[in-house]
């Protein structure tokens, strides 16, 4: 009888407090996904995966490691996901007013600031660069950069990148309010719809791929897949492929990505002071990205005749479309007649491009050190 219980419950003695902590982390991610509706498509699989890989003698680790090697270690999943993201992105509002791209560029300030902060805390240059890219607010870019630079903190970086993307509605508003006055938040920006030609819409992804590919070759795979997805959308003759990329492909990859990331959330690897530091630095990156965009808009207002609502600068991060929605709602809260949505979407999609450029530049700077 004792042997029977020993064989049945013997594994209970293998449970450690670190595993229990990771179950709590997993439960928190699931709670945020279901109850708070924060990036549920990613946080839910990640949360469940965190519990799955932290069960004693978990047989799932091997399977998930196989998936990890097949899809993340070789950057396949993030790149394929970018086709879906590209197909989802409507660059129309950006093409309507191309100067909005400048805000996307300015909002990458947090990445480079965080690189310096990570160096301050003693991280190696390649690790600091990988951690900094959390500020791209772009999971696939974070994965590709960390993987190509051979960072040993890939797990923590992925968790931070996806968690903060989900926390955009919590992180951004206080920073925006802190840096803007009520008067600035009330600035109205009427949207002037221009007729963007179909040729421009088709040539845009091709030109962006060529320009970024020539200047920052490290980013060519990311930007190429993103823009290929967008070309499927805009060409007008591949609606079925575009639809598949936007829905089936993106959902399928997201499903595997979230669960597979969890393999890097095993207690022994994850519960270290460095992980806490990386999570804190990820927050720094998001805060200073937001600040970079807002302050840049305020700077432009010093010279511009037509004033810009500085809140739209905050959408220059890549978390699309969450950031644009957050700022749009903030605008409506200040003034129910202030519709900023088209501007915020324009800045937000430019952030998507700029974050990939930033990732590519980081790769160009540090690829030799990996």
């Amino acid at each position: 009888m004792a042997d029977f219980f020993q064989s049945l419950l013997g594994n209970v003695t293998n449970v450690t407090w670190q595993m229990a902590v990771m179950w709590a982390v997993g439960a928190l991610l699931i709670y945020l996904a279901i109850k708070k509706d924060m990036e549920p498509s990613l946080l839910l699989p990640m949360g469940f995966g965190a519990i799955l890989v932290n069960l004693p003698l978990s047989g799932a680790v091997e399977t998930l490691t196989t998936l990890f090697n097949a899809g993340i270690a070789n950057e396949l999943f993030p790149l394929i996901l970018f086709i879906g993201i590209g197909a989802m992105c409507d660059f129309g509002p950006l093409l309507n007013d191309p100067k909005l791209m400048l805000f996307g560029a300015a909002a990458q300030f947090g990445i480079f600031f965080t690189l310096s902060m990570a160096r301050l805390f003693g991280f190696e240059l390649v690790d600091a660069a990988s951690i900094a890219v959390i500020g791209a607010a772009d999971g696939p870019t974070s994965i590709v950069v960390a993987q190509q630079l051979g960072s040993k903190y890939l797990g923590a970086i992925m968790v931070a990148a996806y968690s903060y993307m989900a926390l955009v509605p919590i992180v951004q508003p206080p920073v925006i309010r802190l840096l803007t006055t009520k008067k600035e938040r009330l600035i109205r920006m009427p949207y002037e719809q221009k007729n963007v030609s179909k040729t421009t819409r088709i040539l845009f992804p091709i030109i962006v791929t060529m320009v970024v590919g020539i200047i920052a070759p490290g980013a060519v795979a990311l930007i190429g897949f993103l823009m290929f997805g967008n070309l499927l959308r805009e060409c007008g003759v591949l609606d079925s492929l575009s639809d598949t990329a936007q829905h089936v492909l993106a959902n399928l990859i997201t499903l595997f990505l979230g669960l597979t990331i969890a393999v890097r959330m095993q207690a022994a690897e994850f519960l270290t002071p460095d992980t806490l530091l990386i999570l804190a630095l990820g927050l720094v990156a998001f805060v200073f990205d937001t600040a970079g965009g807002v302050v840049f808009a305020k700077l432009i207002n010093l010279f511009a005749k037509k004033k810009i609502n500085p809140m739209i600068g905050a959408c220059g991060i890549s978390a699309f479309p969450m950031s644009s929605r957050v700022v749009h709602k903030m605008g409506l809260k200040e003034d129910p007649q202030n519709f900023l949505l088209m501007h915020t979407v324009g800045v937000n999609v430019s952030g998507q491009i700029a974050s990939v450029i930033a990732g590519g530049l980081i790769l160009s700077f540090f690829a030799g050190l990996a």
Binding site: L95, P98, K99, M101, L102, G104, A105, Q108, F109, I111, F112, F113, L115, S116, M117, R119, L120, F121, G122, L125, A128, A129, P174, L178, L179, N195, V196, S197, T199, T200, L203, F204, I207, V208, V211, V212, I215, A216, P273, L276, L277, A280, L281, L283, V284, V287, S350, I353, A354, I357, A358, L361, I362, F365
Partner: protein
């Protein structure tokens, strides 16, 4: 002034967990911080350069295709 105090307090709150970790033995390397500032400069210059080129290309493209569209209409 109030805004400045608020900003400073927020920054302090934000960085306090980092300082706590630092006190627990994480080495602070001011030299590495200063050295890495060059990447901030290069990185931001690079992004604005690429962005500028794309904006320029878009403006030229839209002018060219817009005119063609006008003619067709």
């Amino acid at each position: 002034m109030k805004k400045f105090v608020c900003s400073f307090a927020s920054l302090f709150l934000l960085l306090s967990p980092l300082s706590a970790l630092a006190e627990e033995g994480i080495h602070l390397d001011g030299g590495a911080f200063v050295d890495s500032l060059q990447y901030m400069l290069k990185g931001l210059a690079g992004i604005f350069l690429v962005t500028g080129i794309i904006i320029l290309a878009m403006v030229i493209l839209e002018k060219a295709t817009g005119k063609k569209q006008d003619k067709e209409q």
